[in-house]
């Protein structure tokens, strides 16, 4: 019901309703500017929530199926305990594969911390075993007990300890981003309501004349609604494009990780197309409400 009327009111080239309200230069520019700024900010809020959403998904996927067994033992027992632990792991339900990391791999893991020249062989570093779970998962408590019996130096780290807070943080960030978009929309609605109220008050005489010659409220409201909706649409389009360019210009080196991942990937760019029409819709609803409320309050 609302959508067709919304569209006909806006799109039918009825310049007459527009003309009956005098043009207003300054406030028009302010509305355009504010809508643009809001859209610009919304682009970043959107980028933040999409990027953190991606991050949370990725962390969730990558970490959920991997665990590590760490074996700390005196040098002479290391090989024996590793063997024992691998045997236990291979006979545990819910574990797809278990593999001891080679020295080269361990060195690569340590390189970021100690530099590439570290003599791993001569250091008492623990042996790591990479464990890949099946979808069903395994019983961590049972596995720990069996490991402690067979290989006392083995410690199971199923990653949940540090995975959970990370995913929680990412999800929280995503929620904050979405909430910010709502706030931006609300602020824009409030701003446009104020602007529309000011416009209606400034044009009280025009409204009186229109009323005297038999204009219905819908006609009077349309003049204002159309104007503010088109302004918000235009402002938001400019703001969205500006925000898009700013996101594109951000240095993007995948290796730095989260910060530079702030952007849009693939189909996510589509969401930017949604911003201006949503801004227009918000402006339409805000002005429509303001206009009908002001007009309804007249005798």
């Amino acid at each position: 019901m609302r959508a067709p009327r919304f569209l006909t009111d806006l799109l039918v080239a009825d310049g007459s309703a527009d003309r009956v309200v005098p043009p207003s230069g300054f406030t028009a520019h302010l509305t355009l500017f504010s809508a643009g700024v809001m859209a610009f900010l919304a682009v970043f809020a959107l980028a933040l929530s999409l990027a953190t959403g991606r991050l949370a998904d990725r962390w969730g996927d990558e970490l959920a199926h991997a665990s590590t067994v760490r074996i700390s033992a005196p040098d002479d027992q290391m090989a024996v305990q590793t063997e024992a632990a691998l045997r236990v792991l291979q006979t545990t339900d819910g574990i797809e594969s278990a593999r001891a990391l080679s020295e080269d791999e361990q060195r690569a893991l340590l390189a970021p911390w100690f530099g590439p020249e570290v003599p791993v062989e001569s250091l008492p570093i623990p042996q790591l075993i990479e464990v890949i779970e099946s979808d069903a998962g395994y019983d961590a408590a049972g596995l720990r007990m069996r490991l402690s019996a067979e290989a006392p130096g083995a410690v199971l780290d199923d990653h949940t300890r540090w995975r959970r807070p990370l995913i929680a943080a990412a999800n929280r960030l995503r929620a904050l981003g979405l909430f910010s978009i709502l706030l931006i929309g609300g602020a824009m609605a409030a701003m446009i309501t104020l602007a529309a109220n000011a416009a209606l008050a400034a044009n009280a005489k025009v409204i009186e004349v229109l009323r005297l010659v038999g204009a219905q409220d819908r006609y009077i409201a349309r003049a204002f609604v159309r104007r503010f909706t088109l302004r918000a649409l235009a402002g938001a389009t400019v703001g969205t494009v500006a925000g898009m360019i700013a996101v594109l210009l951000m240095p993007s080196q995948a290796e730095v990780g989260f910060l530079t991942g702030l952007g849009f990937a693939g189909a996510e760019w589509f969401w930017l197309l949604v911003l201006p029409p949503v801004a227009g819709l918000v402006a339409y609803l805000a002005t429509q409400r303001a206009a009908l409320r002001v007009l309804g309050a007249l005798s």
Partner: protein
């Protein structure tokens, strides 16, 4: 077409009008007179639904004003041409657009009515001023433009509040002539004025009844004036 039944109106303080009853019959010509501040404008506003009586009943085209929505009143206004004492226009639009405004807001195609509009402007002597903006008009031109705007939808009823208030005698005669012409075409006319000369002049051309507001009440004034 307009029926008032024991209508009273008060703006807060005491009653301005009390116990007013009136039926406006189609095709009639009424003058409404009384001292300034006696409630002539209020009376007219009750007739076109701008005010709702504080007691009693007002019916516009057989509809109780209290049961009418804002949009109902707007629709009724299309059948009632109102000329205000201080004519208000849309100051950013030229006179021809202002006169055509009732067509515009009623959704008529102004282009296809342009012939009628031109004739009306001619009839009111406004053709040379068609492109002027309202603030550029003289008092008499504003009154005529207001009258033209009030009749462009060919309303059934014309309510004029001091239409000759700030024009000279000659101009007031021309305006009166316009209203008498409209009455001959079958329109109901009511003119609020305290200009008794105008009433006398009108009585030579038209069967006019004179209503007088005095002491908060509406009375039918005698034939002699």
């Amino acid at each position: 077409m307009i029926e008032l039944e024991n209508v009273a109106y008060s703006y807060g303080g005491g009653e301005l009008l009390s116990d007013v009853s009136l039926r406006l019959a189609p095709g009639s010509f009424h003058f409404l007179t009384g001292p300034s501040g006696s409630g002539k404008t209020t009376f007219l506003k009750l007739c076109y639904g701008e005010l709702v009586p504080t007691s009693g009943f007002a019916r516009i085209f057989d509809q109780d004003v209290r049961s009418m929505t804002r949009d109902d009143i707007a629709m009724a206004r299309r059948r009632i041409g109102v000329v205000h004492q201080d004519c208000q226009f849309l100051d950013h639009l030229p006179i021809s657009d202002n006169v055509a405004l009732p067509l515009t807001v009623a959704g008529f195609d102004v282009q296809s009515e342009s012939q009628n509009l031109a004739e009306l402007m001619q009839w009111c002597g406004l053709t040379p001023r068609a492109n002027a903006l309202p603030p550029e008009l003289s008092g008499g031109e504003r009154q005529r433009a207001a009258l033209a705007r009030a009749v462009i939808l060919s309303p059934d009823l014309i309510l004029a509040d001091e239409p000759t208030g700030n024009v000279d005698w000659e101009m007031s005669q021309r305006l009166l002539q316009l209203l008498i012409e409209l009455n001959r075409m079958g329109k109901t006319v009511m003119i609020a004025t305290h200009d008794l000369g105008l009433i006398r002049a009108a009585k030579q051309h038209v069967q006019a009844r004179v209503l007088r507001i005095s002491n908060r009440r509406l009375q039918l004034a005698g034939a002699d004036l």
